[in-house]
Symmetry: C2
Subunit: 642 residues, 2 copies
């Protein structure tokens, strides 16, 4: 068994690996040429310099509406001694763009003419030669260079091409990429019914992500049918692709060191491995090979690994074939709100959410697992932590590469704290109006939200912290933990918390008291979560100590994760909100109705974005949608509590 | 005649006009919905929020290659007392992504296992529950919000959609725009032979530029056939478009105040004029109207006016219909190298070329005429000069909106000075190699180039300044005008200068001495141009005074413009380079061979980009292309003269 496992060759740094790749495939702008018409050329890359065939304008023309005259004939005109010009003899009406009548060399603006009758125009100032005239060739001179080779045609360029008489242009053919998704666990989503999926089966999505990324950078692709983990078949597919004029071949999955990861073997049997393993995260298991002089790249199967490997290796290769520079994302300096340790010797591509809080742009890290596509679809940008760094210090200023325009980052409301499903509704509701606002929520528990306010890294904290002394929510915690910060508290919802249990209640659970039973496995929330405090309060009332509860130490960070744990029987029950139970078709035993508030520092409270947020919360539309979730009460929703 | 002319209504400021437009058409995300498959949704805008249908992963799976175990069974293992696990009973081989075998709850990495034989794996440390396991729902939990409405689907999103079991998504239909190009002077480039074009005829390109811009911001379009200046026909076309489900109608041309500009009349007869004329330049003559509740916009016919009007009015409207924010260009602070006066009360969209010289990004203005499409295709960005400003001071720092990534601006070599056709060849030659360098040349004459070096706003000056005392080039001028700046001089070419004359030499010109003839109309170069100095030197030698030459005061800024003037008989002859004559199929009488050098401050001379530039100049490829132009001598090309 061990003998068939791959062992990584000596891993390369990102720079080394790119160097090896680009030296092995040095072709720059080497693709064949095809002709396309000027209007169809947008986004294409010129294979040759393009020179104008005709001048534009192709004739002297009026640059103003008025009359065309021979300048000489106007000399001497002045206010006290105006000059009369005979229309259609000395002077000719012209509109902007009209050809200059024979014998004229100046235009006088309509506003400066007194029309005497239909035959006579009077002027009170002379014209100088060539005034208000667009000369032939003013825009484009025949034979001049319009665009150099390797120029990418923009919509604007269409105008210069047609104006210069260039109706078709030589562009580079699109590089063609063959995608071969491998893995016996894969299912084709176009052919299945998701109801029938079995554990262990996975919907193949990577090749679609790749295909769309290839198109976005100017290539085209073909997708091979799903390929089981069968080296002979994969070899055949790669060989066919290489022989069939594909410029690049990508296998997807099977590039790491597992026993069924055959990519290395495949490339070795057909050609040469150039790189196996790069010291980046995600993206480490990429394999770069050469078969018959063509790049064959083993893309990692984890989606974020695959995306990073694509952007670091495949996209640059496509750009080079097209004769284009690698695209570069807009960069911005950001403050990292929490310490981010990172492994020495590995360059990490950290996905972050960004928001402008006060005068700085703050970055908070998304989960770092390479397997979660949502860590990149949720991200506003990426921070690259260099291999020689052990991570980022709290409040350190670093460079982030943006996924969206800076302006969108400025229009993000950063909400940190307890998780509640109505925040998703709120995010969507904000999008209905033309606010341009994005709601960015991080779920770190209620106490985490208060700490985020203290550190000045959010606009709003979501919190449901119960004061077990007096039954109040949030106020006493704010007094204690944020003594120096003036805040407003706005109620978002009241909501039912309770025990989430499987359909049919197989373990016959009725309330908190059952959690102490030996046959019950509990799933808890992290400490600092309002739900955790609520649990401890209830346990205390019932004189149940944590040690008596199996699974008390097993923590999840959101209501939905607790519900998932119950759904897949990792636990028998957990405390959470009704909406989470409903969402996964689980049952719910209400324990208490609690208050969920938004805590907003006064410095942000009067801002335009927060005003829109509060108006949205107060709107009927929002409240109707919230009530439809079940387990929510909106009587005080939008009320300013203090 | 005057009665049919339009008079602008009271013009609106840009802000007022946008306000009127957006209030008249407040629809945000109001387009109908259509379903597209997840893989075809890139670039489309979600019409509804999208929630996950299944969890991803859909099962607990191994996050590492190794063995899956029940954590309990590993407790107590340590180096001194390893634990043996029976394979396929206590422990099971798993690869990354594999479903966790029944009864196991942890994975131990392959690297931490000693395989004893095919039945026994030994471990020296316990596993804790859930280690190296990707839990069900770790990436996506069924029912969670994947993307809110109005989210634009990116290639990454495809992965989250498919992973979440969402195989098709509701997106907004693309807004449909009808384009109606008007003007009796227009020709359809798809149907004509440019050889047969007559003066006054113009190739219609605006509707193609518009069509491509519409597609780039997410809309689609139909193009009406070319429409003569006939109000009845235009009315019919607009009415048909409004009745036929187009969301926006654009007429192109005919929006200013000329007698044949019918757009206002057309809109008035069908509906209502909301705005006629906006205090922007270019873009002033835009007309905004409403017909049957739909926007009908009269786009100016000058291409840059049209582009500005599109980006300020039509693009935002398309974005709003789609439920998207207006796109925003990356902004950067730039130093403007020369004073730019601007008209008070008009907001100007100034097209600029940008380059990083030393530590600052310098901006130099392109020609400001709205009729020249090349002023926008050549531009690297735009500076907006507010209506309440009289312009930009020399060296003032202002904000520019970028047309290309900042990185490309950094990689621009700014060359200012005398014009020579070989600079086009050099620009193209630099593109052949993967240098990423763009050559940006401004033509302001040799002396202008030296002044640009003095002001620190260019990397290189192109110069051929003859010292009439000793026949040397450039050196004495540099000593005099740049006494404090250390520069290198690199020869670019030696070139023939001479008289450019029409084919067949109708006026029988033989040399400079003919310029004093009464029947000869000359076209001159601007003062400070090397060619002008050369002319004056030759005239002096022949004892001809400038007053004796007709047209001595009529100046052009480039060789090509001089050649164009000769071609269209504005002048009988001008002094210029052979290449310009050849390009327009004119004749050429050599007068002198002169030296054209590149002047490069030492502070830039050692930079990577300048090294690449000089290597390119020295290359055989460049020199071969230069010689093919005719009138050039490359014996000393690339030589460092001092």
């Amino acid at each position: 068994m061990t003998s068939t496992r791959n062992i990584y060759l000596k891993m390369k740094t990102l720079e080394q690996a790119r160097d090896i790749l680009f030296k092995a495939f040095p072709g720059f702008g080497t693709l064949d040429t095809e002709m396309v018409t000027a209007d169809q050329a947008v986004g294409r890359v010129l294979a040759e310099p393009v020179f104008a065939k005709i001048s534009s304008p192709g004739f002297h023309s009026a640059a103003m509406d008025g009359i065309a005259v021979k300048a000489e004939a106007t000399y001497g005109a002045c206010e006290t001694s105006p000059k009369k010009l005979i229309l259609n003899k000395d002077a000719f009406y012209v509109n902007t763009g009209h050809v200059l009548p024979q014998g004229t060399d100046a235009v006088i603006m309509m506003e400066h003419i007194n029309i005497q009758d239909e035959n006579i125009a009077e002027i009170e100032a002379p014209a100088f030669p060539w005034q208000y005239i667009r000369k032939m060739g003013e825009d484009i001179v025949a034979t001049e260079l319009l665009f150099p080779r390797n120029h990418m045609i923009s919509p604007y360029c269409t105008g210069a091409l047609i104006g210069g008489g260039v109706f078709s242009v030589p562009v580079r053919k699109k590089p063609e990429v063959m995608l071969i998704p491998t893995g016996s666990e894969l299912l084709d989503w176009k052919k299945i019914n998701i109801e029938n999926m079995k554990p262990g089966q996975v919907l193949e999505s990577n090749s679609y992500v790749l295909g769309n990324m290839i198109e976005a950078c100017g290539g085209k692709y073909a997708r091979h049918g799903l390929m089981p983990d069968n080296p002979e078949k994969i070899i055949k597919a790669v060989e066919d692709a290489v022989n069939n004029d594909f410029d690049i071949v990508l296998t997807v999955g099977g590039s790491s060191a597992g026993s069924e990861d055959y990519t290395k073997e495949v490339i070795k049997s057909l050609g040469e491995i150039l790189v196996h393993g790069v010291t980046i995260m995600p993206g480490k298991p990429v394999i770069i090979g050469m078969v018959k002089g063509k790049p064959v790249i083993g893309m990692p199967g984890y989606p974020v690994s695959m995306i990073v490997a694509f952007e670091q290796f495949v996209m640059p290769l496509i750009c080079r074939l097209l004769g284009r520079p690698e695209p570069e994302r807009e960069k911005v300096l950001v403050d990292v709100t929490r310490k981010i340790p990172s492994k020495l010797g590995i360059e990490e591509f950290l996905r972050v959410k960004l928001g402008k809080v006060g005068n700085r742009i703050t970055a908070s890290s998304l989960p770092r697992g390479a397997g979660s596509i949502t860590t990149i679809t949720d991200a506003d940008g990426i921070i690259r932590i260099p291999a020689n760094s052990e991570g980022i210090k709290e409040n350190e200023t670093v460079t982030a590469e943006l996924f969206k325009p800076l302006n969108a980052v400025h229009n993000t409301i950063v909400i940190v704290g307890s998780h509640d499903n109505t925040l998703d509704i709120l995010a969507d509701q904000l999008k209905i109006e033309n606010s341009g606002i994005t709601l960015c929520s991080s779920h770190v528990g209620s106490m985490g939200g208060l700490m985020a306010i203290k550190r000045g890294v959010c606009h709003v904290a979501g919190s449901h912290l119960l004061d077990t002394e007096n039954g109040s929510y949030n106020i006493s915690y704010i007094k204690r933990f944020l003594p120096d910060i003036k805040v407003k508290i706005v109620n978002l919802v009241f909501r039912d918390q309770g025990l989430i249990i499987p359909k049919g209640n197989p373990k016959n659970i009725h309330g908190i008291e059952d959690l102490a039973r030996k046959d019950i496995k509990f799933i808890n929330r992290q400490s600092g979560a309002g739900t955790r405090i609520l649990l401890d309060y209830q346990l205390n009332k019932l004189n149940i100590s944590p040690e008596m509860i199996q699974g008390y130490g097993h923590e999840e960070f959101t209501h939905m994760s607790v519900a998932v744990a119950v759904l897949n029987r990792t636990a028998d029950t957990g405390l959470g909100i009704c909406a989470a139970a409903r969402a996964l078709n689980l049952e719910f035993i209400p324990v208490v109705t609690e208050q969920y508030d938004l805590i907003i520092p006064e410095e942000h409270f009067e801002s335009k974005n927060i005003k829109i947020l509060i108006n949205t919360i107060k709107s009927m539309d929002f409240q109707t949608r919230v009530k439809a979730l079940g387990g929510y009460h909106t009587e005080r929703t939008g009320e300013i509590i203090i």
